[in-house]
């Protein structure tokens, strides 16, 4: 990463209260994100990958202050986001947008889609009403929808078209960064390809940065420049795309790559998976003292169970493992 980062996250920590342990007990806390650091350069895409519950969504939401962090710092475009007043945060909001996985529940079913796309412009007072109308038409064309569709309601669109509407809405205020949380996971492969190509084209056109969450490594390889692998609320490996895919250093990254489906693995050739990872991750409420991956790691040794590995530079990236591959 050579450019000065657009977003720089240090020590990001997020806790969720979990009710009380007994009548007078202290409220129990679930630490969902545990000291995450990353930089996102302008015009680049950082992928967050990892199993369900590893903290991808929570990390991204806390980084753009849509969820409260309990610690850490987020510098965005020169501003310390955590230190801003709500009024100041509003000024930055237009540069930070989100696209969610579910194109069904993230669009208000009672609003016409033209109004849905215009809403952020209204909320953030961007331009005058005539200018906003022109902008909405422009956005529809940009994402491959027709202007005559602006008066329709969300249910009159297919899943892929609804995702285009979400993208148009996210682009409305000319943001600099868009969080894409599993934006194609709910779509059929053919539609997924349409949306992925669109996201890449828009990035090139507007110099957008994406924080891109996905559990599909094929998708991640296609769209991301840099990848952070998360396990139980921490980044365990981070590298640029060629490095991560050609030479994974963390045993968990290797296991994820091994588990991903691929056309080259044929039943007809007697394919059997090599290093399959056993079981589920441990509960985030009951973390082991050493490496969080030790209970499932094929390489685990005594030291792993006693001493927690720090995220260290490898020259080509970063890895948190005592015995990197």
């Amino acid at each position: 990463m050579n450019d000065a980062p657009l977003m720089s996250v240090r020590g990001l920590t997020v806790d969720f209260p979990l009710g009380r342990g007994g009548l007078f007990g202290k409220p129990q806390m679930l630490r969902a994100v545990r000291g995450v650091d990353f930089d996102l350069a302008p015009g680049r895409t950082l992928g967050l990958v990892g199993e369900s519950g590893s903290g991808k969504t929570t990390t991204a939401m806390a980084a753009i202050r849509l969820a409260p962090a309990s610690g850490g710092q987020v510098m965005f475009d020169g501003a310390d986001l955590m230190a801003l007043t709500p009024g100041q945060m509003r000024q930055h909001r237009r540069h930070l947008q989100v696209i969610f996985q579910d194109p069904y529940s993230s669009l208000n079913p009672r609003d016409r889609v033209g109004a849905i796309v215009r809403e952020p412009l209204d909320l953030m007072d961007v331009g005058d009403p005539a200018g906003r109308a022109v902008r909405v038409e422009e956005l529809f064309t940009l994402v491959g929808l027709r202007r005559d569709q602006m008066a329709l309601f969300p249910h009159q669109f297919s899943g892929g078209q609804r995702q285009r509407i979400s993208i148009a809405r996210a682009l409305a205020t000319n943001p600099r960064l868009i969080v894409c949380d599993e934006p194609v996971s709910a779509l059929d492969v053919a539609i997924q390809a349409q949306i992925l190509n669109l996201l890449r084209r828009l990035q090139g056109e507007f110099g957008l940065s994406y924080l891109f969450i996905s559990h599909d490594l094929g998708v991640v390889q296609f769209i991301c420049d840099d990848i952070a692998v998360m396990y139980l609320g921490e980044i365990v490996e981070m590298a640029d795309r060629p490095t991560l895919f050609s030479r994974p250093r963390h045993p968990y990254t290797a296991v994820l790559l091994e588990a991903a489906p691929s056309l080259a693995r044929r039943k007809s050739q007697g394919y059997r998976r090599q290093g399959i990872v056993k079981g589920d991750p441990p509960s985030p409420l009951n973390l082991p003292p050493g490496c969080a991956f030790a209970s499932r790691c094929p390489q685990a040794q005594d030291r792993c169970r006693a001493e927690k590995p720090a995220l260290r530079d490898t020259g080509a990236g970063k890895v948190a493992c005592h015995f990197p591959l």
Binding site: E51, V189, N197, S246, L256, L263, R266, D280
Partner: protein
Amino acid sequence: MADPLMSLRDLRVEFDTRHGRVTALSGISLDVMPGETLGIVGESGCGKSITALAMMGLVPNPPGHVTGGQILFQGEDITRAKPRRLRRLRGREIAMIFQEPMTSLNPVFTVGDQIAEAILLHQDVSRAQAEKQVVDLLATVGIPEPARRAKAYPHELSGGMRQRVMIAMAISCRPKLLIADEPTTALDVTVQAQIFDLMRDIQREFGVAIVLITHDMGAIAEMTDRVAVMYAGRIIEQGTSDQILDNPLHPYTRGLIGCIPVLGREAGDAASLPPLAEIPGIVPPLHLLGDGCAFAERCALADDYCRAVRPPLEEKGHPVACHHAGQGVPA
């Protein structure tokens, strides 16, 4: 060659909808051989799940109707079977697992009780014997501490463990045919890998034939011997998995393969990967299907003949339904 275990012969299924009668499946013919894995692949709405439900004699009625053809299980036409006979087949011979195991498990009973119930319904054993079988089955499907987990409620298990429980229940009566409708779509890739390994082990151990429904060509490659590709309620291409993956002839099949961002270590090296191949547009709704090829409005090779005349499924190396099969850019 052995006799097929399950055969669909020219099957037709229609639904009553607010657009009138629509044809959800049309002229579906396929065989599942004993011990093999047949894949069914296609975008959502193409008729994969209805095909699976038909094999179980479970087409929802109303609004669905089997209006033509035969569903033969070991030669017996189950479209004519009595409900009692069907229930027996479903418990003992044919079993099914679904995408979201949570919805198929009862939240207020322990998983052990639910598996035991399935065993007691179909086998002549005592409660104690059934409970012993439950623990063995949970161990077979790779659940750690099976005796303890048997006492867990569904919500106390992870998604992967719930799917293992469903598989345990499905194999409890040693079925000959296991139908798996997108069994791993809701799961992480690591867990999907575990479930696929389990399905392969079970197939090797019990010789069960598997019908795997998926939209994932990677799953087809790794799991299946043969594949049927469906589009808008018809089979549009069929062959061995290698034929379909290495030499697809139908433009839709080529599109499905070309649009996947394939994971490959070589691909990681390029500075920027080329755009994905796209299949433009979407699957047409059933009530708008015309006389011509249903894929025509999304197909780069479509001509007036395609739009007017539906291509039949014909042998062109392997069966494919396209007037211009094998032409244009290969996948």
